[in-house]
């Protein structure tokens, strides 16, 4: 394995930190050479070594150490990639130019919990699950539940503008932050505490920078008392359009549901069939909640319809995993044509939470609004089931790869007036290339994000698989930008979408570049990312 200038800094790094917090061993370098970018995972099959290992990895335990590390890197002009838990799906932490990876996970303390102001100060390296646990055991919540909560850090959330499953109520991470501390590319510290209301909102100029402007070392976040009540409900919507309309009405009425998730027909079919295993047990259960799930599954309709849907699901999955590319369009079209007729409808999960009387009142108003938009109440079962299995979907990724396919997701957002255009444009564009389904899960008064999931066969030739993967992304992003949608709602840009940054921002990139000149004048921070 090639070792470059970065490795030569190991002795100096050891004296700045500690001997056991610096590594140049091949296993450690390899472990930091990949994140969860599915394209990079294609090479795992054959055990191919990743292309860009860092030269050295260092684990600071304080802001002062991070500063010292950055200064050393500046003196030696060695690149730095800040690293949280490596759960990014855009290649954002790949050390393209080698250099050093600064792993923040040893900085993971709850520094302060201010019960009067309802804020908590955490170091940036804390894992999401640990952060929420520390708050939960004290009676609080951040309200941030990304599906990566077990494998992402607060710093990573800030770096990539993360969104959680309860974003409709609690907002995205950028809405929860009161102040941040960041070490710049010159080793200086920016602490935005006390800057509120005094000028440009500097937090918002730092959050989302994906390691290109600085290294987040800590943040003060707004916390909430753990909700006293959580009321979940499922609705069946006749079509995607009706579901979107229901969500729009809810959000524009000023209601603040904690969860809003609309699955398109195919995603609904997948969700329901994965629930089907529970169907029998649930129907026989003594637990009324379980029986409600069975009742919901019963809405699949007639036995015949159910068989047809199961058959369709199997063929779609089969296509995704093995069928030739040529058949993909046919299958996607078949799904489009058949699913609405099979009266499966679209599943909408909605939930309200908080102080009991407030949550109950909000739920009444929210559910009424959805019914007015054509929703058929399925009771609490589907919502409760979603809550129990809210993180399960991520386990499917390894099953897909194991079966010889690859899968990825694209989360884009646009205002309501163009939302259905976005949905159609991306589905149509992708139909020839891969199996695609979608859900709508982060809604606002002015628009919504769509979360497209796609899968295709990887085949035995890695280069061909990469080509296919790239073609899917090119097509999907082109379709997305053609209707004016943003290229990412919460996964970030990293390497995979860097080429689309000029299209996304136009002349505004001048501002990003100016920020780069101010905060990282030597260009040592996460080079090669975000189109800078």
């Amino acid at each position: 394995m090639r070792a470059t200038r970065g490795a030569e800094l190991a002795p100096a790094l050891r004296s700045l930190t500690a001997p056991d917090r610096v590594s140049t061993t091949p296993p450690d370098r390899l472990a930091y050479a990949r994140d969860l970018w599915p394209r990079g995972m294609l090479g795992l099959k054959t055990g191919q070594a990743p292309a860009h290992p860092p030269d050295v990895v260092v684990w600071p335990t304080s802001t002062a150490e991070v500063q010292a590390i950055v200064r050393l890197a500046v003196e030696n002009r060695v690149p730095i990639v800040p690293f949280g838990a490596g759960s990014g799906v855009c290649g954002g932490t790949l050390p393209l130019a080698g250099g050093m990876v600064v792993d923040l996970k040893r900085m993971r303390r709850l520094v302060n919990l201010d019960r009067a102001s309802l804020t908590a100060t955490f170091e940036a390296g804390i894992l999401g699950e640990h952060l929420e646990h520390e708050l939960a055991r004290r009676g609080y919540t951040l309200g941030h539940f990304p599906s990566s909560i077990m494998c992402s850090t607060l710093g990573g959330w800030l770096a990539a503008r993360s969104a959680g499953q309860c974003s409709t109520r609690y907002g995205k991470i950028e809405d929860m932050v009161r102040s941040v501390e960041l070490v710049t590319g010159t080793g200086e510290v920016i602490d935005t505490t006390g800057s509120h209301g005094l000028g440009a909102d500097f937090d918002q100029l730092l959050i989302g920078s994906e390691g290109t402007l600085g290294i987040f070392t800590r943040a003060v976040v707004a916390i909430r008392p753990a909700p006293e009540a959580r009321i979940l409900r499922g609705f069946s919507m006749p079509r995607v359009a009706a579901g979107c309309e229901a969500i729009r009405r809810v959000m524009q009425r000023g209601l603040r549901p904690s969860v809003v998730r609309l699955y398109d027909e195919i995603d609904t079919l997948m969700a329901r069939s994965s629930a089907a295993k529970e169907e029998k047990a649930a129907a026989e259960s003594e637990d009324p909640e379980e029986r409600a799930v069975a009742g919901w599954l019963g809405l699949l309709g007639s036995e015949q319809g159910k068989r047809m849907r199961d058959g369709l699901r199997r063929r779609l999955v089969g296509a995704a995993l093995g069928a030739s590319v040529g058949r993909m369009r046919v299958l996607n079209r078949a799904a489009d044509a058949l699913l609405p007729r099979l009266s499966g409808g679209c599943l909408l999960i909605v939930g309200c939470e908080g102080d009991r009387p407030l949550a109950e009142a909000e739920a009444r108003a929210t559910f009424r609004e959805i019914e007015r938009a054509g929703g058929k109440d399925l009771g609490p079962g589907p919502g409760e089931r979603w809550l129990r299995h809210r993180y399960d979907v991520s386990f499917k990724l390894s099953k897909m790869f194991q079966a010889g396919a690859f899968a990825d997701t694209m989360e884009v957002a646009v205002s309501w007036d163009r939302l259905l255009d976005l949905y159609r444009a991306v589905r149509e564009a992708l139909a020839p290339l891969c199996f695609v389904m979608a859900h709508f899960s982060h809604a606002y008064a002015d628009g919504c994000s769509i979360y497209f999931s796609f899968a295709a066969a990887a085949g035995d030739d890695q280069a061909l698989a990469e080509e296919r993967y790239d073609a899917i992304w090119r097509t999907a992003l082109a379709a997305s930008t053609s209707v004016g949608a943003t290229i990412s709602h919460h996964h970030g840009v990293g390497l995979s979408k860097a080429a689309y940054m000029p299209a996304e921002h136009g002349e505004s990139m001048a501002i990003f570049r100016a920020l780069k000149r101010v905060l990282d004048p030597h260009g040592i921070l996460n080079p090669g990312k975000m189109g800078l």
């Binding site: 091949p26 390899l30 930091y32 055990g47 684990w59 996970k105 494998c151 990724l397």
Partner: protein, 361 residues
Amino acid sequence: MMPDLDASLTLCTYCPKLCRHTCPVSNAEARETVIPGAKMATMRLARLGKLESDVESTASLYACTGCGACSEVCLHGVTPGRHLFTGRADAERTGHGHPALAGLPDRVRAHAEASARAAREVVPPHRFQPSAEVALLPGCDDPEATATTLTVCDRIGAEYVGVADVSLGCGGYPLLAGGFPDAFRLHAEALARQLQGYSRVVVPCPACVWAMRVEYPAHGVPLRPEVLHTSEFLAQFIERLPVAAAARPAAAAFYHDPCYLGRQLGIYDAPRRLLERAFPGGVREFSRTRGESECSGGGGVLPLTMPATADAITARRLEEVHEAGATEVITACATCKRRLTRDGVTARDLVDVLAEATRPA
């Protein structure tokens, strides 16, 4: 259904790090190399012949306490802890075993023999019975515990319990964890022979209970007696325990679930029921408890291979104890007891507490 080794390695290799937050080693080290998925991926590479053949490359296979916390959250039902022990055996076979484990079989044997001898110094000779309905197996980490357990048995009307007349005071778990399956099988065969005369064996160490119950049969070693953990056995006599009278200051001591007792054997309630009855004021729960309990750092021979990491794991488990201003932890495992006694905290075994509770006035 539990996936086989190959399927497990593939699933973990592609898994988006969904159990990393549970792993005590990766939490202590904060190093991507030692998250469960990466350790399994390393093992997969080794099996594909794509790993450098050196000790450094296989080191991460040893970064596991076998605590099973990762399996607890895995929807695929993968058991990385158990598979990594196999990975260690592979490494040992190819000459890339962990240097700190050199000669482990001899060391374990010597230690097991010393433990059996130590028990003879604290237990009256007549309690050693070559055959009995129920016999205690002397443990290796806490020789005193055999005598203490016997005392408790006597006080609750189980005077018939004897001590197994064996030369090995250990079920052999460290051999398995260290990657010495052949030595483990030999150890198991020897101990199984010595235990022929008993119907039930009561074992103080949860890891050895697991080894004897699960891994002896898996390694083709039949064992005649039923194997019980001390807490399981004593729970049968719960009605004979005195009810704790005076309440202590509320929640003075934490109860720590030993990983092998809880997650691996599913025994969560027996020790709690005993403590609830006999320990005044009851015990306090960690915020991560039962299936979510965090490891004390003692399993998987980690204290031998990565002592500093093992200490960091222990320190992390004790953070909550310090934060609560408590100084006492009760557990049901000699290894956990030893690990958790530090930094102003005293850990006691369940049998110590029961001995105190049953002491005649």
